[in-house]
Symmetry: C2
């Protein structure tokens, strides 16, 4: 008698670990699977298990992959002379979707945050530095987030590579396309003015 | 090489079956589990599998349970003379939390909707009628949702039980506690006026 409530409420609690999911959403998810889509639930469970077991970090760029080397690192058609440093695999997806970058990546899996105990080692920055030293990379584009931690991470990486003769750039932060100045927040506007470029 | 992208994107697609989850949220969930909480992911997968396999409908009230009979139906301390009909197990949880009902339940697992092909049989209404006939129930409280389908379901159930000598009531729908009239929608306000009660 007792265990049934437990299994159901354990399931609800388990859904609550997902980002952005509170008690009500977790309940809706659990009941949805049990009432409407048990097959989808089984499939989801199988895929979570398989992913957690098989997906690891690329031994070169740290992106998520099932193999030793990820698809992008293993693709010889990509430009080896330019590398983009991002905070997370979702950033890689976003940049890939934009179609504006054909080089290699390095995925930090986070950003420097002394308060949370996130060190350069945690972000694989020593590995990034040695990767670059033993590579043909000529430009490193840093695409960390426009936050204090993202800025600190960017400066730290630039500092670590100061002795290497490569161009280090950072993506432009400013007013988004289609954004009306009136509705853009002050920090973004400040960044946009700071990052102004001469009109040719 | 190919399969790694597939497993990850399959996982993202699998998360999208959950209610209210689109592409971006599904991505966030998949990456969160893989980057931050693999243990939580394994646990979630195990609980989904176990739940989908073990949780079934109570043979008496149709609520979700691991056993033949759910906790509430099996609890002799609850009032057998009053029964509440709800649309879903979450409604049972909500009413139980309110602490305002100590009787039995019957869970329709939906509401009448000819357009979606939801028939009285799908909602177990024949079973509800026979349950009531063979029980000590004296009052049936219908707590279906205040929607056209919820209303239709309520009327249909009342009609099916017209020959039984039991009181059939429906919960009050009106202005919620703490709600300011100004911000209450027209339909709710209409229901509140329609459902007005004499002040004693």
């Amino acid at each position: 008698m007792k265990s049934d409530e437990n299994l159901l409420s354990q399931l609800v609690q388990a859904f609550k670990i997902l980002p952005g999911i509170g008690e009500k959403s977790a309940q809706r998810m659990a009941f949805y699977l049990l009432e409407k889509n048990r097959e989808g639930g089984s499939n989801l469970a199988k895929l979570i298990s398989a992913s957690v077991e098989k997906i690891r970090n690329c031994s070169s760029c740290r992106n998520l992959t099932e193999d030793l080397i990820c698809d992008i690192c293993g693709d010889d058609r990509r430009d080896k002379k330019i590398m983009c440093v991002v905070e997370s695999p979702t950033d890689v997806l976003a940049i890939e979707k934009s179609g504006s970058f054909k080089g290699k990546y390095f995925v930090l899996m986070g950003r420097l945050s002394p308060i949370d105990g996130v060190t350069p080692q945690d972000l694989g920055i020593p590995k990034l530095v040695s990767n670059i030293k033993s590579s043909e990379v000529q430009e490193l584009i840093i695409a960390t987030s426009p936050t204090i931690e993202g800025d600190a991470t960017s400066f730290y990486i630039k500092d670590q590579l100061s002795e290497n003769n490569i161009l280090i750039s950072r993506i432009a932060y400013g007013v988004p396309m289609g954004g009306e100045l009136e509705y853009v927040d002050n920090t973004t506007l400040g960044r946009a003015i700071q990052g102004r470029r001469e009109i040719n």
